[in-house]
């Protein structure tokens, strides 16, 4: 399985780099790196796990990320649900 990558500068935000494995349009594994801020930091692993199995489609990703942000009351700076979803769909 090929690892796909993308680099995306979120408008008014930070640079996000995506590395992911996909199968039939769904995420098998994802790594989200970059110079953004997420509080608490360790929750990035929870986010990456949360996105496994998700269809690589803008609205689906955006909603899934938003639900996660809300559920764990995560504070983000330089990264948004829309920005991250856009970064992920760029790998296609």
């Amino acid at each position: 399985m090929m690892i796909k990558r993308s680099i995306y500068k979120i408008p008014d935000g930070k640079l996000v780099k995506i590395e992911l494995k996909e199968k039939q349009g769904k995420i098998i594994r994802i790594k989200i790196t970059g110079d953004f801020f997420i509080y608490p930091e360790e929750m990035i692993y929870s986010l990456e796990d949360h996105l496994v199995g998700c269809t690589i489609e803008r609205t689906v990703l955006k909603n899934k990320i938003e639900k996660w942000l809300h559920k764990y009351q995560i504070d983000c700076f330089g990264i948004t649900s829309t920005g991250l979803a856009d970064a992920i769909i760029m790998i296609k």
Binding site: K14, T33, D35, F37, I38, Y39, P40, I44, F77
Partner: protein, 251 residues
């Protein structure tokens, strides 16, 4: 309220990051405010918590030029720690002197840097989330983490910037654009010495920052060293965490 003023001088990246974290851990059990000032020897690159080490840093070049590299516990970007003074503030988030709101707390702490720079006649301003700029160029970068209601914010105040050297050690997404990126960064980043056109020593900048924090974060600063339990924790963190590939290559 008293705050500890801690000057640890120049140390390696591993020791420096271990000291910041040890103070942060210690303060969760023993509430205390610390203002620390320090430098880096040898020069080092630190990357943000969320960054990929191998994608941001040219590890072979770092070895060749004896530059250390380390992952921070704070988010944000890669920093080349060379000619600069670094500060850290570790403080319980009391909602009075240290705001609960993340953005507000960045702003409040960055005000210490701004007041310090003012003593050199350097006018600067806070640009959310984590930069301080002067004459439209970045002069200070800052990053914050929070653990159990204690905050650690550290940041650098550039004395002199060597962008060429910095980019001989950092990787860029597209090698073909490297020269353009270097040119852009030269337009966007500046040190105090470059701004003033004269030498400003590490000591002079450190003194200015202490003054700046005294003025903006109104604690009663008392010079005090690390405690013996903090020193033990520093040694442990340095050896087991910050010198380990497991941590530095984590992402």
């Amino acid at each position: 309220m008293n705050a500890r003023l801690l000057t640890t001088g120049f140390a390696t990246a591993y020791e420096n990051m271990a000291i910041d974290e040890a103070i942060l851990i210690h303060a969760q059990e023993n509430p205390q405010v610390t203002l620390r000032l320090y430098g880096w020897n040898p020069s080092a690159i630190s990357i943000g918590y969320f960054q990929s080490l191998k994608e941001e840093v040219d590890l072979a070049k770092c070895k060749k030029y004896q530059t250390d590299y380390i992952r921070r516990i704070t988010g944000g970007g890669a920093v080349f720690h060379d000619d600069e003074v670094t500060y850290s503030i570790i403080a319980p988030i009391d909602g009075i002197l240290i705001p609960k709101n993340i953005l507000m707390s960045y702003k409040k702490i960055c005000q210490g840097v701004i007041e310090g720079l003012k003593t050199f006649g350097v006018v600067s301003q806070f640009i959310p989330l984590n930069d301080i700029i002067s004459s439209g160029k970045k002069i200070s970068g800052n990053a914050q983490t929070r653990k159990n209601n204690v905050l650690l914010q550290h940041g650098t105040i550039l004395l002199k910037v060597d962008v060429e050297k910095m980019f001989s050690l950092l990787k860029v997404p597209n090698e073909k654009l490297k020269n353009k990126i270097i040119k852009d960064v030269k337009q966007r980043v500046i040190g105090i010495q470059d701004l003033l056109g004269k030498k400003i020593s590490f000591e002079a900048c450190q003194k200015a920052l202490i003054y700046g924090f005294q003025k903006s974060l109104k604690f009663n600063y008392v010079k005090m060293p690390l405690s013996s339990s903090e020193i033990l924790l520093v040694k442990k963190l340095e050896e087991q965490k910050y010198r380990s590939d497991k941590w530095n290559h984590q992402r």
